[in-house]
Amino acid sequence: MSLTVEETKARNKELIEEVLKAYPEKTAKKRAKHLNAFEEGKTDCNVKSNIKSVPGVMTIRGCAYAGSKGVVWGPIKDMIHISHGPVGCGQYSWAARRNYYIGTTGIDTFVTMQFTSDFQEKDIVFGGDKKLEKIMDEIQVLFPLNKGITVQSECPIGLIGDDIEAVSKKKTKEYNGHTIVPVRCEGFRGVSQSLGHHIANDSIRDWVFDKMDPEKNTFEGTPYDVAIIGDYNIGGDAWSSRILLEEMGLRVIAQWSGDGSIAELENTPKAKLNVLHCYRSMNYISRHMEEKYGVPWVEYNFFGPSKIAASLREIAGHFDDKIKEGAERVIAKYKALTDAVIAKYRPRLEGKTVMLFVGGLRPRHVIGAYEDLGMNVVGTGYEFGHNDDYQRTTHYVKDGTLIYDDVTGFEFEKFVENIQPDLVGSGIKEKYVFQKMGVPFRQMHSWDYSGPYHGYDGFGIFARDMDMAINSPVWSLTKAPWKKAA
């Protein structure tokens, strides 16, 4: 039944040829560069990435605003993030990403609220700067405990020539140095969410770090200080990661940005090491902190026990024996748990195949967790990855794996239809398409309202979720019995 590597490659190549036939010639040529079967030994996946989506094909991608407000800035809990422009962007992204946090919402924390300047025609015609000033005044009255404000630009802002930087400077001065960050993350910038991450990272550099008065920062560091970078605490991921770092003897001084606060951002340059989970969305600020403050950074992967253990050791490698012993202690402590989880679920999942299409780090990072459960990832791709993501992917995927960058709705459907994986992991827009086809599915952005999936505590939930998706009795009911026989 199962194909050899060569057969798989041939099948995948054939499939790619097949889907390209449906496009007009010009588009087929463009899309061909994004699709490939991975060749073992290559340094990348031999696909083009981070280039414009083709119009009209149903790309799964979002925009720069989504990358800034939705990903990087939105989870910073004690600041107010204004969706600046028309009402929609903030409305559709309102509390949808499950960035868990602790706080009294509306009083000292604001993550699951939708603050918008609700642009009207007159704001487009006459500009929105005056309105933005007024909004900041109103915020200071009604939400006096906010620790700062960000301005998340929607498309019109950059098109009508508003000067949100001037407004931010003026109001910072007026409110005694209150942190106010203008972010030029208009949705039309760049080709996906990715540029929004970069712009948001840069805005932290320019409007948080560069505005800090080192004299005033009295935070005292220790030799064991680390910051978690690029964990958005979806379903509590950063918490089930933090607990492990603390248990091995490290002090986590900041979370970027899930359940994060402005103070944590400001104190991060004092860390001894930045540990970076989502490389794609926060490598920029990590590199900056390395250059400017001399904070080294290391990538890690907290999906599944194999990768967690390797990551704990890698992180500990940056510290002394006390921490190295701590890492071993943590690995040993949780061994019974992970062994039990694997003993319970691996027999139910062994040999099952998975196709992924996600953003950020997950198209590669979760592969190890599936493999810990005996499952094989047979296809994967990034919504907004760059070539450095596809380089990193080579360490995870098997020879012949189908790779699809910025996959279109049509391609994804055809690939799944032909390959018939046991599970598809992607987003809400894809979920119901595949479930209608009778293919088990898990949302791998929001953890399908479950999670956490990070860390040892998260792995148990991950395993349980994959089992219940694949082994649900509902999949045996999709065909009516009177039609099954034939």
């Binding site: 119009p55 004690d78 422009g85 009402v87 609220m113 300047s117 609700d118 704001d123 933090r242 606060s261």
Partner: protein, 519 residues
């Protein structure tokens, strides 16, 4: 160790374990530099005061937690209601990802929609090339019968001209010359999603009735006996349209739904993914011109469309989301009057059963105070229904309702003794509602999923009857229109009442004397 393979703890329990509670405390104490607890408490209490309410209602620039979305969402809703039609939104692509997610989270169904993926170069040079390539790709890849174009705010700000662009795209061979590409400009900075519904539907009717952008002769109206039905933007559309269809069938009235997404957002899981299912066909749209009359079920969702139809010589009956007994009576009497067909005993029986149910239960709802928010027509319908149940719609709020709407709500208040202490709030948001729920508390809140934050902060139990509903499943499958729909709404109101009463009397030896077995 908190987690256990034999009993996997989910997030809601995992993070209550002592290890995590300690972790949260340490994080807050050592790293967050959080506001002191006393200060937080002080501000919490202050936000409950009249003083805070005054400051809150004085704001005129900031919007917090609005109950409205932007125009293109309504346009995508409309496109989904036509047979084998693909929504094509001209502008930034992120918007389309948002509309699709938003609808899929509510309906738990796929939502197809493409973008012309305009980026910075298009912002400078215009999006003509995106339209040319986009239409060609959409047409060859997804083979729709029709592509319904609308716009994001980006395309509107730079002034892209859809009519000219589509014409040029056709000349360049993106789609055949006679291929149907109705369009609508749907700027996000004007109106809301209901305005987008109106504009998109208007665009489709104009296209088919008024000569397809001067490429064919305008259609001549040849009146017949049929009635058109326009439902408006409706989160319960999957349940509501079949209910209205059932009523039309019982009455023996020929009818056409102008925009019917009830199949497209209700496809089976049987091994086949249907990208298109059901919906109004192009032929039906063309023939709808000949109808005797059009029922517009939600006035504020179809104001321009209603005007266009009237200008084409049809009677247009404009309603405000009629529901409940009186509302449904009004709807039935209108279609009976127009068609000349009597309301049959079968529907009278349904009515009687609804009135019977209300009589059985009215004591539990009489005098109960409700706060409600949502789209303007739905608010009118719910207000009317609550009043006839003897309940008091104390706060009626709409972010996208204007003064004209407010006057209509006030007229309903004025016509009922139960409306005496009720107030309407046009152009307000859920942060305004929060103040109202503190300063003038009510028994229940009717709203969408976002109302749960108000429930949390103010303790007002939430009844979900407003789009979007993300955190409860399948409500949209059941109608809230017609007598049958009213029955469903009645049960929802009662369920919440009984649940609240039980929750309020459940403490043993303290309150459980009222924990009655018969209610």
């Amino acid at each position: 160790m908190p987690q256990n393979a034999d009993n996997i703890l989910d997030h809601e329990n995992l993070f209550r374990q002592p290890e995590y509670v300690e972790l949260f405390e340490n994080k807050k104490k050592n790293f967050e530099f959080a506001v002191p607890v006393d200060k937080v408490k002080e501000i919490v209490e202050w936000t409950k005061t009249k003083d805070y309410q005054e400051k809150n209602f004085a704001r005129n620039a900031l919007t917090v937690n609005p109950a409205k979305a932007c125009q293109p969402l309504g346009a995508v809703f409309v496109a989904n209601g036509f047979a084998r039609t693909l929504a094509f939104v001209h502008g930034s692509q992120g918007c389309v990802a948002y509309y699709r997610s938003h609808f899929s989270r509510h309906f738990k169904e796929p939502t197809s929609c493409v973008s012309s993926s305009m980026t910075e170069d298009a912002a400078v040079f215009g999006g003509l090339n995106n339209m040319i390539d986009g239409l060609a790709n959409t047409h060859s890849l997804y083979k729709p019968d029709m592509i319904a174009v609308s716009t994001t705010c980006m395309a509107e700000v730079i002034g892209d001209d859809l009519n000219a662009f589509i014409k040029t795209a056709k000349e360049k061979g993106s789609v055949p010359k006679d291929y149907d590409v109705p369009f609508a400009h749907t700027p996000a900075f004007v109106g809301s999603h209901i305005t987008g519904y109106d504009n998109a539907l208007l665009g489709i009717l104009k296209h088919f009735w008024d000569g397809k952008s001067d490429t064919v002769p305008k259609l001549e109206r040849v009146p017949n006996e049929s009635i058109n039905f326009i439902g408006g933007f409706d989160g319960f559309v999957v349940g509501n349209i079949p209910e209205i269809r059932r009523i039309f069938k019982i009455m023996g009235i020929e009818h056409t739904f102008l925009c019917d997404p009830s199949d497209n957002w209700n496809t089976p899981t049987d091994g086949t993914y249907r990208m298109y299912d059901g919906g109004t066909t192009k032929q039906q749209v063309a023939e709808a011109l000949n109808a005797k009359a059009t029922i517009v079920f939600q006035e504020f969702s179809a104001q321009k469309t209603a005007k266009l139809i009237a200008e084409h010589g049809q009677e247009v009956v404009v309603l405000n989301h009629p529901m409940g007994v009186t509302g449904t009576d009004q709807f039935l009497m209108e279609i009976s009057r127009i068609s000349g067909k009597p309301i049959p005993p079968e529907l009278e029986l349904e009515r009687g059963r609804l009135v019977d149910a209300i009589a059985d239960s009215q004591a539990h709802l009489h005098g109960k105070k409700y706060a409600l928010y949502g789209d303007p027509d739905l608010m009118l319908g719910l207000t009317q229904f609550l009043l006839e149940l003897g309940a008091e719609p104390t706060h009626v709020l709409s972010t996208n309702g204007d003064e004209k709407w407010a006057a209509k709500v006030q007229a309903l208040f004025d016509a009922s003794p139960f409306g005496k202490n009720c107030k309407v709030y046009p152009k307000r948001d859920l942060w305004h509602m929060r103040s109202l729920l503190f300063t003038e508390p009510v028994d229940f809140l009717i709203g969408n999923t976002y109302g749960k934050y108000l429930e949390r902060d103010t303790g007002t139990p939430l009844i979900r009857l407003v789009f979007p509903i993300f955190d409860r499943h399948h409500y949209h499958r059941m109608p809230i229109w017609g007598y049958e729909g009213a029955m469903r709404v009645l049960v929802m109101l009662l369920d919440e009442f009984f649940e609240s009463l039980d929750a309020n009397t459940i403490i043993p030896a303290k309150t459980d004397y009222s924990y009655d077995i018969i209610r």
